[in-house]
């Protein structure tokens, strides 16, 4: 029997490397990996996921650094840390790819067709408008703001890549993918949106 293919969104990898405590997400990911190993499934990682995770690593390391002063030495110090973690991430991922536990994929479709599909799904989805009462830091706003939440073009491209490589499941923590569930383009693929 052919191995099942599962596409893991960037949020799953970020949660794993940060051992995220929110909603016990790190444990959810651990269980997911166990299940994948047990069933001998193949994990699909797209170039898009890889680049997003590398960018999160850069931003998270830089923005977590306690501020003292900023000069060339400080910049180099931060960049070296980023480089070190990036290398460790890429080495581990390369091993997984070499062992054929992870497949590194990218769409084989021509770019015009790729964007045509992304565009047609994007315009058929309208998203939702809600009120937003807090500043990013958690402080309450004097006046609430409207907030648009809907599927983004990146979400569509993740789903399209997964579909192209016959992924049976797409795992994510991002609720934005809800809107793609049931879309005819993704027939036969399950969106498993964890809390």
């Amino acid at each position: 029997m052919e191995a099942k293919r599962v596409y893991l969104d960037s949020s799953i990898w970020v949660s794993h490397i940060l051992q995220e405590k929110r909603n016990n997400r790190a444990q959810t990911v651990q269980q997911l990996f166990h299940q994948i190993e047990e069933d001998e499934d193949v994990i699909l990682v797209s170039h898009l996921v890889l680049l997003e995770v590398l960018e999160v690593i850069r931003k998270r390391i830089t923005e977590s650094e306690p501020y003292t002063d900023l000069d060339d030495n400080k910049k180099k110090e931060i960049k070296d840390r980023v480089q070190k973690k990036t290398s460790l991430f890429l080495k581990a991922l390369s091993h997984l790819i070499r062992e054929h536990r992870v497949a590194l994929i990218d769409s084989q479709k021509p770019v015009d067709q790729w964007f045509g599909m992304t565009y047609s799904i994007f315009i058929s989805s309208s998203g939702d408008i809600s009120t937003h009462n807090h500043y990013p830091g958690g402080r309450r706003r004097a006046l609430p703001k409207y907030r648009y939440r809907g599927v983004g073009h990146y979400d569509i491209q993740h789903a399209l890549t997964a579909q192209e490589f016959s992924a049976r499941d797409l795992h994510t923590f991002d609720q934005g993918f809800v809107e793609l569930e049931g879309h005819q383009e993704f027939e036969g693929m399950k969106f498993l949106i964890h809390r």
Partner: protein, 178 residues
């Protein structure tokens, strides 16, 4: 550019109708002199030929849809005939459009299916090739063999940059420009 003189045309006509060339043509006389004599010698039934050619032309079947009214009176066609013809042509155009669009969607569906099948079949070939590109671009080489399971190596890789408030979804959204 070759200029055909009138005398040449008459010569060709004579040959077709097996008429003997008039005297003087082959005796080296200048063409101007020959033309003048020929005009007088040949009684050409021009009106009859024109009438015959006109009859032939009028009896030639016309090709639709490029309808040419060849009648001498040039009488206009009734509006109802024109309207009917336009309606018929519009109907044909509409049918062609529909069948064209149906064929286009079938081609697109098949192309998509083919791309999916190829991508699914060549999974490891694509992946191995992408790994080479990644190693080349990043300068990272992965020697065979390992000390630790790679998934365990990734677990908590950024632990020292994590805290209670960290939200993987928001972090990913921040790099997706949301």
């Amino acid at each position: 550019m070759a200029v055909i003189r009138p005398a040449k045309k008459w010569d060709a006509q004579d040959q077709r109708e097996q008429r003997a060339p008039p005297s003087g043509i082959e005796s080296g006389q200048p063409p101007e002199e020959t033309w003048g004599k020929r005009e007088m010698l040949i009684r050409y039934p021009l009106n009859e030929i024109v009438a015959e050619k006109t009859r032939e032309w009028l009896s030639t079947p016309e090709l639709r849809p490029w309808h040419i009214n060849r009648s001498i009176e040039n009488a206009p066609l009734p509006v109802s005939v024109l309207s009917r013809e336009i309606d018929e042509l519009r109907q044909i155009v509409q049918e062609l459009k529909e069948s064209n669009s149906e064929l286009q969607s079938r081609v697109s569906a098949l192309e998509e299916k083919l791309a999916k099948e190829m991508a699914a079949d060549n999974l490891w070939e694509i992946s191995d090739n992408n790994l080479l590109i990644l190693e080349e671009a990043s300068g990272i080489v992965t020697p065979p063999g390992r000390k630790q399971d790679p998934l365990d190596a990734l677990k908590g890789l950024l632990m020292e940059y994590s805290d209670e408030t960290v939200d993987s979804v928001e972090l990913v959204r921040s790099v997706r420009g949301k």
